[in-house]
């Protein structure tokens, strides 16, 4: 993840800054110029709520090299209340617990790092909501 590319993606990764189509309401993360739903170019900024529901999920047992120490880890497609969908890891739980329909909050975590001396890359991961609902 070379740092110019990483820096460009900060709004979506750090703040979940997305775009909502004024014409059809479709929400895209990261922002897009053209709505993939209806091709309108009238896209307005929207910041996503930091929670969502699991649409589908898996547990990665054979990871890419950078994720070796984290495996096995759960990943899910998560739908936010705005209707945006994002791919993210789900952590702080048993990976097997992560199934469609599960409610998550999205927390700021380190996603990856470029070897020993490269940049640290952050973003959001899902965490089951149960624990903080005290």
């Amino acid at each position: 993840m070379p740092s110019p590319r990483y820096t460009r993606d900060i709004p979506a990764r750090y703040r979940l800054d997305a775009a909502r189509c004024s014409a059809c309401g479709h929400v895209a993360l990261p922002r897009r110029t053209i709505c993939s739903g209806c091709r309108s170019q009238d896209m307005e900024p929207v910041r996503l709520t930091r929670r969502g529901t699991v649409v589908t999920s898996t547990v990665i047992h054979v990871p890419p090299d950078e994720f070796t120490t984290e495996a096995p880890y759960a990943m899910a497609i998560i739908e936010t209340p705005e209707g945006a969908r994002l791919m993210a890891q789900v952590v702080d739980c048993q990976a097997e617990e992560v199934v469609p329909g599960m409610e998550l909050s999205l927390e700021f975590r380190r996603i990856r790092r470029e070897g020993h001396g490269g940049i640290l890359c952050y973003g959001h991961k899902g965490v089951p909501v149960r624990r903080h609902e005290a």
Binding site: I10, Y14, R15, R47, T68, T69, E70, Q89, V91, D92, E107, F108, R109, R110, I111, G115, H116, L120, Y122, K125, R130, R131, H132, A134
Partner: protein
């Protein structure tokens, strides 16, 4: 008068028990537990560091204050485990919070008092009118060498405090610092684990500076220990803060709420700040609160605060320290702990 207008804390969900560490090194678990008054400690996940802990705590501070992040004019993070040696933690945290770009930030390091240092400077900037709101954060994923006494205590977590002049949850009545050059604990550039002077870290370091700062602020405010509802002192282990509190004339019940170390461990720069957050979770309006940090090297910061009517109104907007300490946890074996803390040599 300036004060704390929002606060938040974060403690990772992984734990390791004192017994598990003691057994690993062939030590007697019961004597370690009794000697240090430590039951277990928090351990950061592989994806958690000072930056992520700071973001989590600061998001809750902003939520309790209900302040637009773009109005935050300064953000300081104190830690001895900033993920980068060169490149600020503060910029990442600010971007995640939506602070900036018109803000001032710096990463502080002063062993375990870097967190209150950040709070001290944030408070000063708000009091001077230089900025409207300022965040002071203390967070750490503390290091302790395997087999060292520090390994039983060095843990992960932190707390964030938003300072402002309107709608405080706690007024800051005074703040002082007490410092000398004392080589009781250090980590040289490029070294992975800190080293310390053993018993030299006690009387000439911790006790001298904590007592110095606390006595100074008690004298300046003219408030006797008996008038405080809560007091918290830096918690390198379970014993020191209770002992220093007693020496100052505080009763055990005044120390209880902020004494989170037995199940949290020593979160270094996050230690006394998280104790303060735990106190704010419980305090009633008009309660007087004393917080005194300690950082090796060495020095202490002390603050006297008075809770306001607003505190109970905003408390429920974020989880409490107690809920995080007693809530969903995962207990690690020493092997998992060694993996999580990256103590195992890997091919990279």
């Amino acid at each position: 008068m300036a004060g704390i207008i929002g606060y938040g804390a974060y403690i990772p969900r992984n734990r390791i028990r004192t017994d598990e560490i003691a057994q690993q090194w062939g030590r007697e678990p019961a004597s370690i537990r009794a000697g240090l008054l430590l039951e277990e400690k928090s351990v950061p996940g592989l994806d958690e560091d000072t930056i992520t802990i700071s973001v989590a705590a600061a998001r809750d501070a902003l939520a309790r204050a209900d302040v637009d992040p773009s109005r935050v004019g300064a953000l300081y993070i104190g830690s001895e485990s900033h993920p980068y040696a060169v490149k600020p933690s503060g910029t990442v945290v600010a971007e995640a919070l939506g602070v900036g770009p018109e803000y001032h930030t710096a990463d502080f390091e002063f062993a375990c008092k870097a967190g209150t240092e950040a709070m001290f400077v944030a408070l000063g900037l708000v009091e001077s009118g230089r900025v409207e709101y300022a965040l002071g954060i203390g967070a750490d994923t503390s290091q302790g060498a395997p087999g060292d006494a520090l390994e039983y205590s060095a843990s992960a977590g932190g707390a964030a405090f938003l300072f402002g002049r309107e709608n405080p949850v706690a007024d800051v009545l005074d703040a002082v610092s007490y410092t000398s050059d004392t080589a009781d604990f250090w980590r040289r550039e490029g070294e992975y684990y800190p080293r310390h002077g053993g018993r030299f870290t006690g009387e000439p370091a911790y006790f001298k500076h904590v007592l110095g700062a606390a006595r100074l602020i008690l004298e300046r405010t003219g408030i006797p220990p008996a008038d405080f509802r809560h007091a918290v002192f830096h918690m390198p282990n379970g014993k020191f803060p209770l002992s220093v509190g007693a020496q100052l004339g505080f009763r055990r019940d005044q120390l209880e709420t902020g004494w989170v170390v037995p199940t949290m461990g020593n979160t270094y720069s996050g230690s006394s700040p998280t104790g303060l957050a735990a106190i704010l979770d419980e305090a009633s309006p008009d309660d007087l609160i004393l917080i005194t940090s300690f950082g090796s090297g060495a020095g202490s910061d002390a603050f006297v605060l008075r809770a306001t009517e607003r505190l109970p109104e905003v408390r429920d907007r974020a989880p409490t320290v107690r809920a995080m300490l007693d809530g969903s946890r995962r207990y690690l074996s020493y092997g998992e702990y060694a993996k999580y803390r990256e103590k195992i040599r890997m091919n990279s």
